[in-house]
Symmetry: D2
Subunit: 405 residues, 4 copies
């Protein structure tokens, strides 16, 4: 392992929504980026003995496995890509690290703080292995540009961060798929969506959240229809990414995750912040937004218009000052844009994953990512904020993030 | 008094930003609305012996006074319009009620909860006098339409309210005008801006906030330059509406108000909510926004595009479902629109005041307002939420709103 | 007459949509602007013997007349404001000029080119009288700012002008009001709407249209229901500004105006241009838009968001370049903004008229307007472009504008 | 050939911008769509003996050729994909048809009308071969949805079409690459961009353009710097998709194509229309827009926000009527969406090509495309409109499209 010169051989665990997103990333990355090492789609691992080989063939994975431990034991593999539900991230990632593999794990780092801490500790111990967490939104060109702008000091002192990740798919008609089961998913909107915006806020500001001042955790829909073929669904094979499972005839089960978590926080550098994640924000499909106001400028981002960054430069000429909508597709000037198409031939959701795959390969080859990459250490900090928010909501008190370190 | 048939004779106290806004409303209301009673701009009262008569002449007020008690004693006046800083609302309004006048008071109801409670009590006692509070944004046609949509039940169960009033004028270069003095203004962004969005949220949802779960109060700029002619400024005659006073040569004073207050809350009907008011949201001029997500639909409003209401109908045909931008200028179908211009000959900030003036006159004449009007009783509930948020921020605990009733 | 120092005494002809808009402007102008001379709303003239005095009383006009010749003969009046249908502009304006009055005439200058030419000639002859044409959109702060930006040279060489004025009210259910009668209105969308965007394009670019290369004139709805009380409607007293007259029971009459006129043109400076005016652009309430692309920058404006100007500076830093949405409400930096409210307390349609009234008074007092003001000479050039477009459409050939000089 | 059941073997000619876009489409299509036949990336053909094999290896093409005639002679290939400059479309496509291959040709159909006619005639003759033209924008989900809405009759009678394709990359600093050479490119913005919007307008309305009423053809920048390595550039190997070639030291050559073409047109069904294509619309990166106004509704599309379709339903309830922004990512309800990601996990430019590749395979297998597909017959009609516009511009007269049939 290390900074070898042959192809980086990847083994992916997971064949659902994230399995597809990662497979697509590994398929495309070498076609669009000039990389220091090639990528070999070595093996994919899924639970289903029929579906997994079909998945492997479709996407071009050389080998199909149903035992992830066998994959980790495969000496040919350099990088284990963990694209499974949150409850198995720790077991798989730690085993991979112990086997001397680099690990790229889906976000959030884990379903529980204990798992996340164990993962961080394993990463600390394994000095020669690199860890990566798929916070894909960092690698939307617009978000990466926001990070560069803030890092350059252009916003000056940061006053406010306003982050919200609003979805609407969790209405009362949505059945009890695995994402509503606390034992599998760890949490609901919180781990799924707040994880993203906490990471984005930390990434763009370069600052750390020190305290959750207050929080609300809410489950509006406490009982949901059990889907037909419920066993599978509850065990995790159904996914909102797929066609919605039909609700069964009358049997309902209890949702054991939050539908929404809101919290207020303070950053070390003095900024105040609000965060909201919800699956019941009717009208909002995938509105992952962040606004940051500083002394000398501000930025706004909305993933539903992911190619655009809004930037306000408070230092310019007063008569023409305003919010500038930057189309972040300029090869010469915007992160990742040179790999893709001519100006304003816009990108989509999947491109964040491909951009991240490129940075993973660059880093494994000893190079630098285009913008900072979260490892397990970094993602553990996000996990601590998630935990502080839940404790704050449940204990009805302000909670310092360092309690969990 | 009561539902007389002659002109309603108005006496206005205040000649600054709100003095102008109200004068303009009284000047225009009879020209655009068909009212059951005429309006007479009877008298205006200001502190300055030279400026006040000039103001009266400019706007067409018959009489100019410098003693507000004399105005209240004037038997000719039917309605006292209180357009002064928050610290004198109570004294003036209560005196007017005791003199048997209707009272229309600027928002927030008062600078302190005690003042607000006294005002509510005075209003309760004075059965024949009507009270009104200038929460002007209720009477933007788009906000009024939002209220009608929600009241009709179209959004179904309300899940979330997201309200923010973002301004940027309070940066470090802004001098220590009266709005930064706690003894005059009562609070900073909180009373000035959160008052508006709490009222809007209560108005549109028709629901009451029961608890503040957590809150942050922050003063980012603790010391500000004392303006030249500082005495006047500190006493309240300077105004952000006017040209900014020049900062003096080096003397600074302490700002004793918040620059920003954020809080999380719960509504009686089960909705969760976030509120943020700030004067330091760089890039945002006057972004008074609210978003409400319900089971069957959602609305969004941003005052910077005040003629537009965004509405999402989740019950319609799936293929063409989305956010509809309603230009709220249709005479036959939108609140207040018939009084003004043809379709999409858009309105501005001042029109909310004129619309409110029309409703005040209608109500004094025994009729109904176009949409519900806040009286002192109603505005006191908003004040209780303001108080709960501040107590929550300072005592670092959840606070029930009924503590203050 | 001339630059006297007393109040400017205004006599207004017209009491319909424009009568109201102008009355409101004269009512407000002295309250918001510091003017070199006061304004006296001296007399208003309408055809209806009952409605006119009521109108005068409502708006504060001292005298009500039904004979416009009597008004022009009134030696007290300094300025005749012509707010009547297009077919009487010439007669009234020329008479007023001959009586030594300043004249402010509604746009378009006239219903026919012959009328317009006679008006221009009368203005040339009457050296001491000033003429003004109510192209109100020039005085939206955003449009005025656009003019300043272009005049400063910031766009460099102009390549393209794209102007469209899109309305939707002229569908098949709209009855045969005066605006559909060629003998009264002169034309349909063309004179009503293209007049505005031709003027805006000339104003902002500071350049002249030299040729209409091709044009389409279209009447989609050739027959319309004759409204009840049809006589009045056909004679011009009904107005789309008022509630729509009910269509009668089955009787239809012929529409003798265009519903839409599109044309392509060339500017003297080399720019190419497209123009479209229509009353059948379903979905568009009052979308008066212009886009101008130059070598070093570009601007975009849409009246439905009239407080915003979009500006693209192609000379700035590449990484943060984009369209900047300028909220044109900054007292210190934007045209006309100082007269009104604090930042982003947005303006509406009517404010363009008030801003124009201020400039009229300043110019009568010998001063300068905030941005260039169209007189009859200038408006005649717009009329020549209107004519060239119609000739081009009807004769199916390119038409040079100078044919009509 | 025909509706065989094995893999469809594709041979691609072209390795530049379109070569990449098509390769990506063939690479992805089988991974995301359930297709009736597999796709085999059989061979790619380019001129460069070193680059072509590298390109083949990168994208997974089995064979690399430098002689396109050899590729056409290859009996293994089912479909020839022509991704070359416009001047060779005819020769390559006709040869492929004569060899019994299906042909998918880049747009515009050809660089000259004569070429296009020959291609159409060859397609007519070759009954068993299918032809396809890569008008990729038809297969943006939002554009496809627009087509469905209009085809369903929801807009009623169509009054107006307003189409513009605005780019900005053709400023005076852009060197003389092949796109500015008339003998290679056929035309400038006209064939490149107007081709797209003519096709989109025909596609969405389902109507045909019968007459060009007037047109402007303009070359603003007549002389451009000859790039270093100019031979290649002039012969066509340089591309705006790649990094811009550096301008040489002072030598300039003549641009022999238009920078912008505007024209006005009439549709058979009575609609009027405007079209504009330009490479000098500063500020506009890739603003491919269309607006269609009908009696009962309207649509708007802007490719820079390609996931959104704006729809106005004029038949709905008046109070809540407005422009609805439809996020066209709903698997169950929007064209092509089921193949991709969950709701509002937005798509990019490249996905239009993948969607088209899916439809090509479906059609070769005897099935139906998701929305109508242009063949050479259909694309020839677009070419006739292009020709009519140029003739109109040069002869300064209205031109009927049927002149060219």
């Amino acid at each position: 392992m290390g900074e070898g010169s042959g192809a980086v051989r990847v083994g992916l665990i997971g064949t659902k929504f994230m399995g597809r997103a990662h497979s697509n990333a590994w398929l495309k990355v070498g076609r669009f980026f000039d990389l220091p090492r090639a990528v070999e789609m070595h093996a994919v691992c899924g639970r289903d003995k029929i579906e997994t080989p079909a998945f492997a063939q479709k996407w071009g994975w050389r080998h199909a496995l149903t035992d992830w431990r066998a994959m980790i034991a495969d000496g040919e593999i350099d990088l284990i890509d963990v694209g499974t539900p949150n409850d198995v991230h720790a077991e798989q990632s730690i085993a991979a690290l112990e086997a001397g593999k680099h690990v790229a794990c889906e976000k959030p780092l884990a379903g529980t703080l204990a798992d996340a801490r164990a993962m961080r500790d394993a990463a600390r111990k394994s000095r020669k292995c690199r860890t990566f967490v798929w916070f894909n939104y960092r690698r939307c060109p617009a978000v990466a540009l926001a990070q560069r702008i803030v890092a350059s000091g252009r916003l000056g002192r940061i006053y406010h961060v306003r982050a919200a990740y609003l979805q609407e798919w969790g209405g009362p008609d949505t059945p009890l798929v695995w994402r509503f089961k606390g034992d599998v998913a760890g949490s609901g909107a919180h781990g799924d969506l707040n994880a993203h915006i906490i990471d984005m806020a930390r990434f763009i500001t370069g600052d750390e959240i020190t305290e959750v001042v207050g929080a609300i955790e809410e489950t509006f829909i406490t009982h949901r229809m059990i889907p037909e073929g419920a066993g599978a669904a509850i065990k995790g094979s159904a996914d909102r990414g797929a066609a919605k499972p039909q609700a069964g005839k009358g049997r309902k089960g209890r949702s054991t995750v939050d539908d929404a978590v809101l919290f207020l926080a303070r950053f070390k550098g003095g900024a105040v912040a609000s965060f909201e994640a919800t699956r019941l924000a009717t009208g909002n499909k995938n509105r992952n937004t962040i606004e940051i106001n500083g002394e000398r400028g501000a930025i706004r981002f909305d993933f539903e218009r992911m190619n655009e960054l809004m930037y306000y430069d408070a230092t310019g000429e007063a008569a023409t000052r305003g919010w500038t909508t930057i189309m972040c597709t300029d090869a010469a000037n915007h992160p990742y844009a040179a790999a893709w198409w001519p100006d304003a031939h816009v990108l989509g959701y999947e491109h964040g994953f491909v951009n991240m795959a490129a940075d993973i390969i660059r880093m494994i080859a000893g190079g630098q990512p285009e913008v900072p990459m979260p490892d397990f250490e970094d993602a553990f900090r996000t996990q601590c904020v998630l935990e502080a928010a839940i404790v704050s909501a449940r204990q009805r008190r302000p909670v310092e993030v360092r309690e969990f370190k």
